[in-house]
């Protein structure tokens, strides 16, 4: 029974729209970035994406630079409860305890943690801890302090260990935040290492997803997804034309 619940959850997930839009998903050895202003819903999106991997039985390491571990655990519980509220998803809660065993949370203090040290600890978890992670979620990394070499090291690490990595990038400061192509100014110098870039933007009463870069190529389009403001889940939305 649990198998069918999982299949259903995977099949019906709005994230399949994302997979399709970015030519079959992010993929091993690649880096993806979700960028927006603070408070738009990046963490919720990352947790939803991680949950989707967990349901597929794929181990996830959730790296956090700021939040306390218990807050992150709460995020997963909340997102999962919301998923379970969707029609025909009643069985979802029953599998929660089981799938959550494939998640490890690693918390680093921003000011003490250099990229090498973070990667060393991650490698220790994967190799010594015998944790076969496929996806890495990196939430709360301060991109204002990240230089191209740092991201290059993440890239090298992802390729070597066969990981796909999703980052969140918080955008601060006065408008405008984006250049003509829709790339945040903050990330302009780092685009060499970023394979997929999605920006989240408020539009009228909801948040929608702009695909700015898709597997190395500029690909400006609005995805058929939006963020439900009450549940903070990613949901399907009729696709629009790009602006």
């Amino acid at each position: 029974m649990t198998q069918t619940v999982k299949e259903e959850l995977v099949k019906r997930s709005p994230l399949r729209v994302l997979d399709k839009s970015i030519s079959g998903g992010l993929g091993k050895g690649r880096l993806g970035v979700l960028a927006s202003r603070k408070g738009v819903g990046k963490t919720a999106c990352l947790v939803h994406m991680a949950s989707d991997k967990l349901i597929q039985g794929k181990p996830v390491i959730h790296v956090s630079y700021s939040s306390r571990v218990d807050y992150i655990i709460k995020w997963y519980e909340d997102i999962f409860k919301e998923i379970a509220k969707k029609p025909r998803m009643k069985g979802a809660l029953a599998i929660y305890d089981e799938i959550i065993r494939n998640r490890v949370i690693m918390n680093f203090k921003q000011d003490g943690a250099r990229t090498e040290q973070v990667l060393r600890s991650l490698e220790a978890m994967i190799v010594h801890g015998n944790f076969p992670a496929e996806t890495l979620i990196v939430d709360g990394l301060d991109f204002a302090q990240v230089d191209p070499q740092d991201l290059g090291k993440f890239k090298e690490f992802a390729v070597r260990l066969g990981l796909e990595v999703w980052f969140s990038a918080s955008l601060k400061g006065d408008e405008p935040l984006f250049n003509a192509e829709g790339t945040p100014f903050l990330l302009e110098g780092l685009m060499g290492a970023i394979d997929v870039l999605i920006t989240l933007r408020h539009h009228a009463d909801h948040v929608h997803f702009n695909l700015v870069k898709d597997n190395g190529k500029p690909a400006p389009k609005v995805l058929g997804l939006k963020l439900d403001p009450t549940t903070l889940l990613i949901v399907r939305a009729p696709a629009r034309r790009s602006r």
Binding site: V69, V118, N130, F131
Partner: protein
Amino acid sequence: MSTATARMRNIGISAHIDSGKTTLTERILFYCKKIHRIHEVKGKDGVGATMDSMDLERERGITIASATTNVAWGGHSVNIIDTPGHVDFTIEVERSLRVLDSAVLVLCSVGGVQSQTITVDRQLRRYNVPFMAFVNKLDRIGANPLKVRDQIAEKLGHNAVLMQMPIGLETALEGLVDLVAMKALYFDGPDGEIVRTGDIPPELLAEAAGLREKLLDAASMFSDELTEAVLEGRPTEALIRAAVRRGTIARKLVPVFIGSAYKNKGIQPLLDAVVHYLPDPAEVENKAADLDNDGAERVLVPDPAAKTCALAFKLEDGPYGQLTYIRIYQGSLRRGDELVNSRSEQKIRVGRLVRMHADAMSDIDEAPCGDIVALFGVECASGDTFCSPGLRLAMSALYVPEPVISLAVSPVDKNAGDRMAKALGRFTREDPTFRTHVDPESNQTIIQGMGELHLDVYVERMKREYRAEVRVGKPEVAYREALGRRVDFDYTHKKQTGGSGQFARVIGYLEPLAKGAYEFASEVKGGRIPREFIPSCDKGFKAVIKKGPLIGFPVIGVRAVLTDGHYHPVDSSDIAFQTAAQGAFRQVYLKSSPQILEPIMKVSVEGPSEFSGNIFGSISQRRGIIVSSVEDGTFSRVDAEVPLSEMFGYSTVLRSLTQGKAEFTMEFLRYGRVPPPVAELLKEQHLEKRTKDARK
């Protein structure tokens, strides 16, 4: 409320291992003139700190049983309970928290918030105990009280406010700045017994002003008067104290004090703070269940003239007989008073009433409401409530976890056997998490407890205090069995042996129960089974699940439902239905694909980050699941869930993996399913043992 109660404080001192709690207590006793010399925990003088009354504690440098002691400070009477830091003895910590009104949480200024601190914080939260923090060991290399304050705020989520700042740190530690009075404090004399006030060193003025501003900001939240005074630029000490006190008692503010117990710095101001900021017994609401009123909750009134209600929270066997520590919640206690034990309904008369100080005591005639005292020669168990005749209250039962580990002990000779029995009798009365029974099959005495160290300490105490030499078996995990799914039964018990026979038929089903160990329901209609035999079936099920057919451990999570049956007017009996229920269970249990469950422990390992790989590896090798790892600079903490059976000897392994620089704590989390290969192994072992026993 009496003035005696208002001038009373019941405090606990809780901390992580090695944060210097016992040293701190020792200094408090010294400054309160209860002892005349200071001894260190691992003292060279061979005396040991006064609070560690047991030899073993002296030897190992740890505190096991909480001794309570009374001191006087600034016209106030302060009862202090020295609590143990090891998780294995958490029952002691929880018991102390139940009877205390507030606590001092001791932290190391280098280690900061550690795993055990988090456990203690959770316990303080559970019992809603207000507390203040004391950041100790400012003399140590790497001391950073500001970082520790931040950790209390971030890791524990408390509104922590520094009340003092250091003058110098590490070896250069000279004294403290009191941020309320804005004065410098120095501790002179050979034992720091002379407190000298002075002006704040000019180079620290700016920082002190900044910290004071934060303190005023935080305190103003609890007092409009103070807010006004701050706006007018005239906040008085009294106003600040009152506001901080209000915030602390409401658990919305945690005042942080600093010092070095070892270097005799900051202890007297801490004692002042206990009096200033922590609640008196009347300021804390306590409830009891009214047994004459269907167990309805009732708030106790801290009135010395009211009828008495008191809780026996700790028993100790001393050279003069059994000593019962008791906390008075309502009314007062006088020599010659008559009290009734609400559980056993036995009457007792208060004979000797004493106030305790670690190993010494003083006789008293009367104790007011809120006080903690000891009685002599009272037969009771810890957790019993005593009331004046005519009142039947029960203080809420203390939460007692089930033991997770057991050990066979056998005395080397008959003398040792007698002494062992005496020791076990005392230990089980003192510590509800420590149990003992005789296994009917092997005829061995089994002791059960909360962890390896827990049982180790009791085996040691048997040898030392009772001279009972025992041989010890291998520690065994308390496994459980559980039904896999719902199964129906239809079982007839029939026996014809001349005379009157036995007949009973039971029909129904067994199903897994998500919460709880066992439930029984009868849906039998129309007297198909006579009413008097329904409880017999219940009894039968209860008996049979005590020893599961798979590996001989109790079956938990069983709901037995009786739907139908059959009886014989002559041959049916209580025993026949009991046997039928047992037969029915055995008939279908194995068909439900039963599972073996094992205790899963919540394990927390802390150590330098360079050893993370080794720590991760050691957990994954033990069938553990890493839940999270938190890295803070060069220090990291790994939280994991690991089966208890894999944790034997872990302390040795961890020590060698990390050059002795990491430590771990663990506590019971839940029962989890044993993976199939391990389950098969356990079944084989059980079968082997059974055949061996049968051959004997």
